[in-house]
């Protein structure tokens, strides 16, 4: 991958990838580092990117992994340091609220659950779209989302001191 290709990718997708990293990491400086991580992967695996049908989705999948790796390495802390204020996607208020909690929960779930959670809560895909994207059955996705919702409810209750 040439420097021109990298510059083009940054010019076209850099902002969106950075926003996604900020949404997951809740830390501006770390999100900038994660963006650099993503572009290192792009530099190394440029051919896969070139062959990807959707460049943005490819970069998002890489960004997700980079961010979750960073979250896994991050020492425990009270909460996110820098509040990230972003415009909400239309009609996505509840999911956006949930996505805050989802990000907190994702450290403790397996890869498949994490991928479904990201697609549903962060990408706001429908279950049909997730099934099409992952190749997993609707039943699997529904079951896992149900479990995740239970965990979200419990987490929300812990935060506000209620019984779920």
């Amino acid at each position: 991958m040439t420097e021109d290709d990298l510059a083009d990718a940054y010019r076209r997708f850099g902002t969106m990838v950075l926003r996604r990293c900020r949404r997951i990491l809740r830390d501006d400086a770390e999100a900038e580092d994660a963006l650099q991580d993503v572009f290192m992967k792009l530099w190394k695996y440029g051919r896969a990117y070139a062959e990807a049908q959707s460049k943005l989705l490819w970069l998002y999948r890489v960004a997700d992994r980079c961010c979750f790796d960073r979250l896994a390495r991050r020492p425990p802390r009270a909460d996110a340091t820098t509040p990230v204020v972003e415009a909400e996607a239309p009609g996505g208020a509840q999911r956006v609220d949930d996505s805050d909690l989802v990000v907190k929960l994702l450290g403790g779930v397996d890869d498949r659950m994490r991928q479904i959670a990201v697609l549903y809560y962060i990408d706001e895909m429908s279950q049909e779209e997730i099934a099409s994207e992952t190749g997993w059955s609707r039943q699997t996705i529904n079951k896992r989302l149900g479990r995740l919702r239970d965990e979200l409810a419990a987490a929300r209750a812990r935060l506000v001191g209620e019984t779920p």
Binding site: E3, L6, A7, Y10, R11, R12, F13, G14, T15, M16, L18, R19, Q36, F39, M40, W43, S54, K55, L56, L57, Y60, A87, E88, A89, P90, G91, G92, I122, D123, E124, M125, S126, E129
Partner: protein, 233 residues
């Protein structure tokens, strides 16, 4: 009145980065042009995009990327160099240190001694004793083919090869030595030794050096040797 179906955040982000196929893009464009919330979200994305490129233009971002790449390459080269040095060191150690085959002891290897007294033949256990006239048949169990020096060493310091010349090549598995040894009179406690890939002269010199400790009962044979003690009644 039903809530209008809005495209997902991802779809709008793909739209703003021109990452959609023409048909999907046209459909979304049509929706966005008539939907105030989606239009506002698209405007916000475009503003963020413009602000980002103004604040961190591609040239600046690529400078940081180059620095990161240099650091990564530096670490990678260090890692490769370390790996090569380790591999070379391991190879040298592998071929230099354990090269002496007398250091190698086969896994599962051992010596069994069959005692024939009159018409009775039995495998000797630790509590069994021999006496003059007993015939001893030595069976070696080997994990792999080996060239061995095999001998009986008694407490007086006498060394008797168990095969002509002392050396024998054996295949893996249970291998009886071709000849039996007869316990002479008077009977003297002894050790039966099978020592891989050692020259007879070298083995005899080593064993003679060990004699004082053998006599004192504090026998300490080379770890690579298979040893079975045989005690007299």
């Amino acid at each position: 009145m039903t809530e209008p179906h809005h495209p997902s955040r991802l779809e709008l982000e793909r739209l703003v980065t021109d990452d959609l196929r023409a048909a999907a893009r046209d459909t979304l464009d049509e929706h966005v042009s008539s939907c105030a919330p989606c239009g506002a979200y698209m405007a916000e994305l475009r503003a963020a995009h413009a602000e980002r490129l103004a604040r961190v233009p591609p040239s600046v971002f690529l400078d940081r990327h180059r620095q990161r790449r240099r650091r990564w390459l530096h670490r990678a080269i260090l890692g490769w160099t370390g790996g090569v040095v380790t591999a070379v060191a391991a190879t040298v150690l592998l071929f230099r240190l354990p090269h002496r085959a007398d250091q190698i002891r086969f896994k599962g290897a051992g010596i069994s001694v069959y005692r024939k007294r009159g018409d009775q033949v039995q495998v000797m256990t630790a509590s069994d004793r021999v006496r003059s006239g007993d015939a001893l048949r030595v069976v070696l169990t080997l994990g792999g083919p080996a060239r061995l020096w095999v001998a009986a060493v008694d407490a007086s310091g006498r060394i008797d090869p168990l095969v002509p010349g002392g050396l024998i090549e054996l295949a893996a598995g249970e291998q009886p030595l071709p000849e039996s040894a007869v316990v002479e009179s008077p009977c003297v406690d002894m050790w039966l030794i099978a020592w891989p890939a050692v020259l007879p002269a070298e083995a005899e010199v080593s064993l003679r050096r060990m004699l004082p400790s053998l006599r004192g009962g504090a026998a300490s044979f080379p770890t690579s040797a298979l040893v079975q003690s045989v005690r007299c009644e």
